[in-house]
């Protein structure tokens, strides 16, 4: 450990020297990767020693040498976009090294030492962080947490009025930060944050020492600690399955979402650490033979109590986790009445203090929430189901779209339920009770209109659950040689997850999607495609057939491969040499199949704001930053001369249209919508005049106009153009029409 400390110190000195030597421009984010490289290398070396020695080969060393040369000189090539490729290559190299070391750490899994399991994810997060931070400034709630941290570190108070006045946000972003609607204010002009101060309080000392860099380092450490605590929990819960614990830790640490959230300021990351600690404490306390007053159980109890208390202090929403987990712990502490009393007292005191504080500061013990926000059973089942399923299956915000490797949860859940059915003993009951303890939180999130997390990376509200989800994976991946189907599934999902993770690390801004039925990644992918690829992916924001078909089909397919594949046994002497090529071929065929399906399946609906639709003038409706945007039916607004066009896949030779639109047409500037099929004018639809002004989203006068039938061949362009009808030369600029969607019926 002493050697590691010296090594890291020396590497830090080298990093500081590099920071002085390397020019800031034009190297950009790649410069930061070069600067932190000595520390990352030192961490890798330390982990390598712990893992029993895993030095880079000559090929790997040569590749790193080539990468450093490329990183220093890539700008001189004069090829646009070279920085992204350099960063991606560096991350791929670091990822390969990380995985090689992670596999070697199997030897250390049963030993109590946790350092290598913390240092390895930290090294990878640290290496990715300079690029992701440069490519994307703090967004969503992040700048507000940073501003509060700044205030605590610099002034020692939570009043942000002076920070807003002095533009203190310029310390960490170039995007202006203003108070959020609903922020509490004081009698003397104080402005407080609506966000809890626990996370900023934890980061403030680091901020004081090293500014925003220190705070970001703190967040990286929280993420790495969450992964490590997840491993500790898996190890304690399943002591006989070291391989399963290691696999679960690897998925938790190196696959998104934790990998993606590591360098960002979201309260869900430290909350994930707390949940992992709760899971660890429960596992330790559950070992009945050790329930006696040993030092381990004492420390486990203290950790449990502190974590349960800290959860609602981080965010009131986490009360939905702390209460059931606390109740579970209460039920488990059967043999110790004192501890039950202590836990009950602590819970009561925390709840009382929190309620009183909120009442004093916000005039409401539930802060921004109302009683109706908690009426889980008042929400229609369909909406609840969409929210709950969306957390996992939504193409933009779901866990499985972000990191398909987590689809292993489906067979893992099946395994847990089967275990309970076959052996309904205490162990299975304990596991089921733990799963059930997370259901209230899932229900609470599922019922929210903003179940997807607002303006944030995917699975924001679910990040806190990750350690518990990883626990489910451990028994599934425990076998030394898992069945062929499961191995194939792991291979294919791992390859897909690595690709998606690399894309999101390269373009962190792509992780942020508007809740409009698509995702930024899909939009970027299909922007230049001639067909509608997005309709094949499930969206719980904009319901379509894929919303229900894909989750069902995916779950069945994954389960079938994992279970039926388990029955396939390898013949003697036949090495598993086809696993990886078969997985790659499977992925490529899947991609080809998706493209073919998007091209061949007849288009039945065109959503006009989608990326595959060409927009000539006009604007997105409602405006991108409209508060609570999902209250509106999104569309594309056109004034005179504006046009949208698409190339639908034909399902017949004749096409009939039903166009849903919102006319905002002044009587003195009439407007019509021209429909053209392959440049042929097939319909001119005069738009009704309206006196629409500011209206509630539900009251907007949407109308549906019909056109056709008309001939339209496959791949021909279907265009919609707004034209002014005024005869006096007025161009209708004061009028506009919002096109929501067109339903196509083929004959």
């Amino acid at each position: 450990m002493k050697r590691t400390a010296y090594l890291v110190l020396a590497a830090s000195a080298a990093s500081f020297a590099l920071a002085e030597l390397l020019p800031a421009l034009p190297l950009g984010g790649v410069r930061g990767m070069l600067v932190v490289l000595p520390v990352v290398a030192a961490l890798f070396a330390s982990v390598g020693r712990s893992a029993g020695g895993n030095r880079p080969t000559a090929v790997e060393a040569a590749l790193w040498g080539g990468w450093i040369l490329l990183a220093l000189q890539h700008q001189a090539l004069g090829i646009p976009g070279a920085s992204e490729i350099v960063a991606a290559t560096g991350l791929a190299l670091a990822g390969v090294r990380t995985l090689a070391l992670a596999v070697r750490l199997r030897r250390r899994i049963e030993q109590p030492v946790l350092w290598p399991f913390f240092a390895l994810p930290l090294a990878l997060y640290l290496f990715a962080w300079p690029w992701t931070t440069t490519a994307r400034p703090p967004d969503g709630d992040e700048p507000y947490y940073l501003l509060l941290t700044h205030s605590l570190a610099e002034d020692g108070d939570v009043d942000l009025a002076d920070e807003y006045r002095d533009k203190a946000w310029r310390n960490f972003t170039t995007v202006p930060v203003a108070p959020q609607p609903g922020d509490p204010t004081g009698a003397n002009g104080e402005i407080y944050s609506r966000h809890s101060a626990l996370l900023p309080l934890a980061l403030a000392p680091l901020y004081r020492l090293a500014g925003p860099f220190g705070a970001q380092l703190g967040m990286l450490a929280f993420a790495a600690a969450a992964a490590t605590a997840g491993l500790a929990a898996a190890r304690s819960r399943f002591p006989g399955t070291p391989r399963g614990a290691l696999a679960a830790w690897a998925i938790l640490a190196f696959a998104p979402p934790l990998m993606l959230y590591a360098g960002q300021f979201w309260v869900e990351v430290p909350a994930a650490l707390l949940v992992a600690l709760v899971c660890w404490s429960l596992a330790v306390l559950d070992r009945r033979e050790s329930v006696q007053a040993t030092s381990t159980t004492r420390s486990a109890f203290v950790v449990l109590a502190l974590a349960l208390v800290a959860l609602p202090l981080l965010k009131l929403r986490f009360l939905a986790l702390a209460l059931p987990l606390g109740a579970l712990a209460f039920a488990r502490l059967r043999s110790s009445a004192n501890r039950r009393r202590e836990l009950a007292l602590l819970a009561a005191a925390t709840l009382l203090a929190l309620g009183l504080w909120n009442n004093w500061r916000y005039g409401n013990p539930l802060r921004m929430y109302a009683g109706s926000d908690l009426a889980i059973f008042g929400v229609p089942l369909g909406a609840q189901l969409r929210g709950g399923l969306g957390l996992f299956f939504d193409a933009a915000f779901g866990l499985f779209a972000l990191a398909p490797i987590w689809l292993l949860l489906v067979p893992a859940l099946h395994l847990a339920l089967r275990g309970f059915r076959r052996q309904p003993g205490q162990e299975a009951t304990v596991r089921l009770a733990e799963v059930a303890a997370f259901l209230p939180y899932l229900l609470l999130i599922g019922m929210r209109r903003e179940w997807y997390g607002g303006w944030s990376p995917p699975f924001r509200y679910g990040v806190v659950l990750l350690p518990a989800l990883a626990l489910l994976l451990a028994p599934l991946l425990a076998a030394k040689r898992p069945a062929a189907g499961l191995r194939w599934l792991c291979a294919i999902l791992a390859a897909l997850s690595a690709t998606v993770a690399l894309v999101y690390l390269m373009h962190p801004a792509w992780a942020y999607s508007l809740a409009n039925g698509s995702s930024r990644l899909l939009d970027e992918l299909s922007r230049n495609f001639a067909g509608d690829l997005v309709r094949l992916f499930p969206s719980m924001v904009r319901v379509r057939p894929a919303t229900w078909i894909v989750p069902l089909a995916l779950s069945v397919a994954v389960l079938a491969i994992a279970i039926a594949g388990g029955k396939l046994r390898r013949s003697r002497g036949d090495r598993p040499r086809f696993l990886w090529p078969f997985s790659a071929v499977g992925l490529l065929l899947l991609w080809g199949g998706l493209l073919a399906a998007a091209q061949r399946l007849p288009t039945s609906r065109i959503e006009f704001e989608d990326a595959w639709v060409s927009h000539h003038r006009g604007a997105l409706f409602p405006e991108r930053w409209t508060a609570d945007r999902t209250r509106f039916d999104g569309g594309w607004a056109l004034t005179h001369g504006g046009q949208v066009s698409a190339r639908p896949s034909a399902g017949g030779s004749l096409c009939r249209l039903a166009i849903r639109l919102l006319p905002a047409v002044a009587p003195e500037a009439p407007l019509a919508l021209e429909v053209r099929a392959a440049e042929r004018l097939v319909a001119t639809l005069p738009l009704p005049t309206t006196g629409a002004s500011a209206m509630a989203p539900e009251a907007l006068p949407w109308v549906t106009l019909e056109a056709g039938p008309f001939a339209l061949a496959d791949g021909e362009e279907l265009a919609f153009r707004a034209v002014g009808l005024a005869t006096d030369g007025a161009d209708g600029a004061r009028s506009f029409v919002v096109l929501d969607r067109a339903d196509l019926v083929w004959q």
């Binding site: 090929v59 040569a62 976009g81 001639a530 090529p581 490529l588």
Partner: protein, 419 residues
């Protein structure tokens, strides 16, 4: 009976091997072609088509090696396909990335093979030699089709190299075989390199083949690095004329990093109606100015014809030490000109009919690229202007020569200042 069963089993296994060997390259090609077919606008279709075929062709021989079962092989195949289908289709980035990924794939597969085996059979040598040849010379198929040169470089040379390597390996000298094969395959590439590069290659090869002990090991490692550099940089055959020299040049210029790239990813076209480009600089002391450009409708321009005037204004530094002391700066101006034949040339100078009409021979291209139509390489030229003394430049102005024919345009892709 048992021998029949064994033969049947081995037959099934070889069919499976053949099927899996073909399946991955076929799937790569299919995915790339479907993405191309689904593309709304046929931008850079010929480049996409070539890259898809090139990638599949490189992976075809590699897929028949035992390393094809390794995750790294599958990951590389996927990565190459993702690069072909997902990267932007202009600017040269995609071609460079795909070329690098293919070269890396060959290197890594060779590295994996070397780690597992001490001697190679003809099958291994042939597969690796063919893959190396396709990486280095695959673009010739795009340019010339089944011409004699293509057949020789993609068929005969790899066959000879593989046979030689296998024979020498069988004779107990695998190192010499490797060197010989590599020398044969890389020879056309090294022809454009300075002579000392070839000399270094030969010396390292000689030491690695016949020496013993630490010196030979060092030579072997140097040779490996050299081969890696040749393959990686030579994988850009249509990007760089002298790849190894380019890599070594990059090493040499580490000491003079770029200061600024004021255009970023922007492309500026100077025309008769918009003849001027002015960009602000930060005043960082610079020693050189770098410009990448090409001409359109510039076939008839004579050598030395001024294309554009360049002017840097700012502060001249009396010595390098003055960079840190702004008070000693004196206002200054630096002027030069971009001239035809030396600093820039017609973009389609590589097309045979255009080459025949050029009034001034084209300089060595900095980057060559595949145009939207036609089987030739477009070219961009790099010009570097060294300043006599360090210069704290604040502003750069480029102005197209008004005496140029009206239709002649000068496209500027990259402007950089060097420290």
């Amino acid at each position: 009976m048992s021998s029949l069963l064994q033969r049947a089993r081995s037959g099934t296994r070889s069919w499976r091997t053949l099927l899996m060997g073909l399946a991955l390259p076929a799937a790569m090609l299919l995915a790339a072609l479907l993405a191309l077919g689904f593309h709304g606008a046929p931008v850079a279709a010929s480049e996409t088509l070539f890259l898809a075929l090139w990638a599949a062709a490189v992976f075809l021989p590699l897929s028949f090696l035992e390393t094809a079962g390794r995750p790294v092989h599958a990951a590389l195949a996927l990565a190459v396909t993702v690069l072909v289908t997902a990267l932007p289709r202009s600017g040269g980035l995609r071609a460079a990335a795909v070329a690098a990924a293919l070269a890396l794939s060959v290197l890594m597969v060779a590295g994996l093979l070397c780690a597992r085996r001490t001697a190679f059979g003809l099958r291994h040598c042939a597969a690796l030699a063919l893959a190396v040849a396709i990486v280095l010379h695959g673009h010739l198929f795009f340019l010339h089709g089944f011409a004699l040169e293509t057949v020789a470089l993609l068929g005969i040379v790899p066959a000879v190299a593989a046979t030689l390597a296998a024979r020498l390996a069988a004779a107990g000298r695998p190192g010499a075989g490797l060197v010989a094969a590599l020398a044969l395959l890389a020879a056309p590439q090294l022809a454009a390199e300075p002579w000392w590069v070839a000399l270094a290659f030969a010396t390292a090869g000689f030491a690695a083949s016949f020496g013993a002990g630490a010196g030979a090991r060092l030579a072997q490692r140097s040779l490996f690095l050299f081969a890696a550099a040749t393959l990686l940089a030579g994988g850009f055959p249509w990007l760089r004329a002298a790849p190894v020299a380019t890599v070594l040049g990059a090493l040499v210029t580490l000491g003079r990093p770029l200061a600024e790239t004021p255009l970023g990813d922007r492309v500026v076209v100077l025309t008769q109606t918009a003849p001027r480009l002015a960009v602000e600089l930060s005043g960082v002391p610079v020693r050189a100015l770098v410009l990448d450009s090409y001409l359109t409708h510039g076939v008839e321009l004579a050598c030395g014809q001024e294309l554009a005037g360049m002017e840097l204004t700012g502060m001249e530094l009396e010595s390098a030490v003055d960079a840190a002391r702004a008070r000693q700066f004196v206002p200054a101006r630096w002027r030069s000109a971009l001239v035809a034949g030396r600093d820039s040339t017609e973009w389609a100078a590589g097309r045979p009919d255009v080459a025949a009409q050029l009034a001034c021979p084209a300089p060595t291209p900095w980057i060559s690229w595949m145009p939207a139509t036609g089987r030739f390489l477009g070219q961009t030229t790099r010009a570097r202007f060294a300043l006599e003394a360090p210069f704290g430049a604040r502003r750069l102005v480029l102005e197209r020569n008004p005496a140029l024919p009206a239709e002649t345009t000068l496209a500027i892709f990259f402007v950089a200042t060097e420290r």
